[in-house]
Assembly symmetry: C2
Homo-oligomer: 417 residues x 2
């Protein structure tokens, strides 16, 4: 009991530990306390016990007055670092321009690639930090950031370095993903095979050696890269001991879910189009299905991911923003949770698990974050809500009233535009 000295304790909270207990998927505890030491959760228990011990040992104590505490939220799929904007293109499309018109005018993902290549690391960091602060203000403490707007070694490196630097600008844990196969850059159009070979060969090796790559990813899609091209990258990553995410079945089914499973990918993401065998394969491999409702919404898609089949197969479901300038200009994970419930029919408990416990698993961080458990990182968020489902209920509300990252209270983030 008198193990490690507590650095600080939060008392009088209602906890949603997100460790399911029998019929309670949120793992709730009333009038509870959570103590931290050395950046980790040191103790969870009744508020009265915590008050007594804190008084006896002179531990700094915060009374939270019945507010809810959840694990810090996790946004496990973002493309947060990019240059330029795509607002003009958004407006052109709504004014009647077709995707083809926009592409001919140099728009679309290639516009973002050009702007990202041209931008300084400082400018990229400032723009990404602004978006990251919006996420953090809602209680997000861990994010994944993908590259894929560089599409040449130097620019991919710059992007991943900016992603690594983000955690010094905003109190977030950042996992980086090398999305080498995102789009074929214009200058490699006549050299598709050579590009794939570079991405999966020397570029991957260089970036991995520099410690910039936590995982790899590919956009396995009819308009992007084939399953065979994707597998080149997955195989190369496996040799280096790197795990994978996969953009799988967003617009069509190329068997990407099965491919992700075959390589025991951390996650298969999107999944609007997946074969009947896909869910079982994902379940068997322990691959998390990451649902991205803001992209589905923005693209006005009409075929949702097969949630019932994924559930029945026992696949863990995560939910993320997919924050990117084209198909999901979304910096609100809470809005993504609302959309996951409204558009995909997730229960609030499933959606919240998708932004905590299962999102942690999608990043290979299930031993570190995603639940309130002794020994895990002391990342949590305080909410002024009636019950956990309220985190999925509002459109545009932000009930987050405090964030603790690595055991330290984070200064108010609400002022960020």
């Amino acid at each position: 009991m008198t193990s490690k000295r507590w650095d600080r304790v939060w008392v009088g909270a209602r906890l949603a530990t997100m460790v399911p207990i029998a019929a309670d998927p949120y793992g709730c505890a009333d009038d509870a306390a959570i103590a931290v030491a050395g950046g980790r959760i040191a103790w969870i228990g009744p508020a009265a016990d915590a008050r007594a011990r804190a008084r006896a040992e002179g531990v700094p104590l915060e009374e939270v007055g019945g507010r809810w505490i959840t694990p810090g939220l996790i946004d496990c799929h973002t493309h947060l670092v990019w240059g330029g904007t795509r607002v003009a293109e958004f407006e052109q499309r709504l004014n009647g321009a077709s995707y083809a018109d926009i592409a001919r005018a140099g728009g679309g993902i290639r516009a973002t690639v050009a702007a990202t290549r041209a931008a300084s690391a400082d400018a990229l960091l400032a723009a990404a930090a602004r978006r990251a602060r919006r996420l953090a203000a809602e209680g997000v403490t861990t994010i994944e950031v993908k590259s894929g707007y560089g599409l040449e070694l130097a620019a991919e490196r710059k992007l991943l370095e900016v992603a690594r630097a983000l955690s010094s600008a905003v109190p977030l844990r950042v996992r980086t993903t090398y999305l080498g196969l995102h789009a074929l850059p214009a200058e490699r159009e006549a050299d598709r095979a050579g590009f794939v070979a570079d991405v999966a060969g020397p570029w991957l090796q260089a970036l991995a050696a520099e410690g910039l790559v936590d995982a790899v990813d590919a956009f396995c899609e009819s308009i992007a890269f084939s399953a065979q091209e994707t597998e080149r990258l997955l195989a190369a990553a496996r040799v280096l001991g790197l795990r994978a995410h996969l953009h799988a079945g967003q617009l069509s089914d190329l068997g990407a879910a099965e491919l992700a499973a075959r390589y025991q990918a951390l996650s298969a993401d999107h999944l609007e189009f997946v074969s009947d065998a896909g869910p079982d394969a994902l379940a068997a491999a322990g691959t998390v299905a990451v649902l991205l409702p803001a992209a589905y919404f923005t693209l006005r898609q009409t075929t949702p991911p097969p949630v019932a089949r994924l559930r029945a197969a026992g696949v863990a479901l995560a939910v993320a923003t997919d924050c990117n300038p084209g198909s999901a200009p979304c910096t609100s994970l809470l809005t993504a949770l609302n959309m996951a419930c409204t558009l995909f029919g997730l229960t609030p408990a499933e959606a919240l698990a998708g932004a905590t416990r299962h999102a942690a698993r999608a990043l290979g961080l299930e031993g570190e974050v995603g639940t309130l458990e002794v020994g895990k990182c002391a990342d949590f968020a305080l909410f002024d809500i009636e019950r956990p489902a309220e985190l999925c209920y509002g459109i545009g509300s932000n009930p987050c009233v405090g964030v603790v990252a690595g055991g330290r209270p984070v200064a108010a983030l609400h002022n960020s535009p």
Copy 2:
């Protein structure tokens, strides 16, 4: 030129006046200034001229560094004042309960009516002010608030008094609407005609005499009130010189658009279901069509309002949150603008006009607010954006960096949960 002395001037702005100029629906001006006097817009012109005059006359001056200034946004359809919450019901539905199950358990609108009747005015005001601050933090300076959760004289009065009091708690211009015919309260089930007679008779007269009613409204719908019942209220309001809004065609077409037009209503709202004759009737009457995409989204509707037909008929389109605890728990007008573009195909210029110029008309306030023009109320918002369309682009971002209401800068609202 040396008319009235300026109280203050904002300089170096890009203006979206929302007064269309030829091919520019936003009415933009670069490197401009806007001066206020006595709570009104006193002058709009080039920044250099404003700087010179401010220097000469010692007028307080704010350099805004190229930020955009728009008219204060207007949310012209809300049910912002209610008691209790409907979060548990939201979760029950997603866990599989039917609307009928929930109604049997006392849920739905009747639950909100019971909680609103039971709540103190102070409690209602605190809850509504919290929601209003979220709207205001995005640049909203005028809102409409409907009653309709009282459904008995005293509770309707309490609700309208709270709506009036809101403007002392949050820097917002508030227009009140007596939504007498929202639902039939449980205790009047055997006395439907008597209820309608009370609503359109003594209750309306009492509340209007107390100065609590700026307009009336009815939920004209198969599950609510017939066109004939609705007309009782409209006719009674006309006698008192009160104009109307109408919940028209949300779930079915009862001819409510034509009815609204016949009574020259300020607005007809929802309009997912409207006859072929409806748009022309609305246009001829000058009635604004208020689109409510957050409700459409939350209810998972699939038939959008006939935007092309409304456009072709020349109907002014407004966009609002419909903020309410059941079908649109939305406190973000910017998200509603995004949804209006994404789900209904409005252009960003149409959506923004729908939250400024046309929303003002929907409230009968077109002489006071809704555009940046000399003589109008000095209500405006400052945004850190690249172009006006960006206000419709983001999901979860809030680029509002300042609000001026009645000529006075409003203290930061971003800290409100």
